[in-house]
């Protein structure tokens, strides 16, 4: 199973609920296209909910970084919500935990935008 991305609007924040695997191929390109599309439509505040993402490979991690950069370059911010233990580990290993703002609670995350 690849990844399914569902976007919803909470105030001026776009929450992206991701479900599945973000890996090289369909998963990573679906994520890239979704973020690109949102940026092109002027969305600047994005919260990526990874609670239901079971797996991210290095290509998927690269897409998270790329998404973070493109949203930041557009004057916005991309933050992460509800990481599984395995995804937390991946961000620790790749030292990206220091780059992303990560939250466990959606309401608290939304309040930081």
């Amino acid at each position: 199973m690849s990844v399914k991305l569902i976007t919803r609007q909470v105030g001026d924040v776009t929450v992206i609920d991701a479900v599945g695997r973000i890996t090289l191929g369909e998963g990573s390109s679906a994520f890239r296209e979704t973020v690109k599309d949102l940026v092109n439509k002027g969305h600047k505040k994005m919260l990526l909910n990874l609670a239901e993402v079971s797996y991210i490979d290095s290509s998927g991690i690269g897409e998270l970084v790329s998404g973070f950069t493109s949203v930041s370059n557009a004057g916005g911010s991309l933050k992460l919500l509800k990481l599984t233990k395995r995804i937390q580990d991946l961000l620790q290993i790749t030292k990206l935990y220091t780059v992303f703002e990560v939250f466990d609670d959606e309401a608290k995350a939304l309040a930081t935008f």
């Binding site: 490979d57 290095s58 290509s59 973070f68 950069t69 790749t94 780059v99």
Partner: protein
């Protein structure tokens, strides 16, 4: 003892296949679910390197995938028919100046998820990556 010895086409299906087969064999060998996930992850990253960067998806080039039971664990060998690369060529993905690069993290993750990593050039000029993961003393 050789558990699996296959020549795979240079495709993303081969990446999925190798991850799943290596994980199944690791479970059978007695690895925990978490360590099995880690070995599968490392195998996946090595296969992606072989298929994408080594063989560049060429239908004329194969990936040699071999899993061997070694005394205290499992050894996985992944060999491509590309023009070779070295671990050094990838640079340090974890250096501060490289953190925001889109790619280059594969080897760092393989290192983190295995006990031994060997990268060598084959006589044909491709790259052979050998990963080893060992069982904890009480399980081996």
């Amino acid at each position: 003892m050789i558990l699996l010895d296959q020549r795979l086409e240079s495709s993303l299906e081969s990446v999925d296949h190798s991850e799943q087969r290596a994980a199944a064999l690791a479970l059978e060998a007695g690895f925990s679910e978490e360590e099995t996930y880690r070995l599968g992850y490392a195998v996946r990253e090595a296969l992606v390197n072989a298929v994408v960067h080594g063989n560049r998806y060429s239908s004329n080039k194969a990936v040699h995938f071999k899993v061997t039971r070694v005394p205290r664990g499992i050894e996985v060998s992944i060999e491509d028919q590309g023009s070779g690369f070295s671990a050094e060529m990838q640079g340090d993905a974890l250096a501060q100046e490289n953190l925001m690069n889109q790619s280059g993290r594969g080897l760092a993750l393989i290192r983190a998820f295995t006990d031994e990593l060997q990268v060598e050039r084959t006589t044909q000029g491709g790259t052979r990556v050998i990963l080893r993961k060992f069982l904890p003393p009480e399980a081996s």
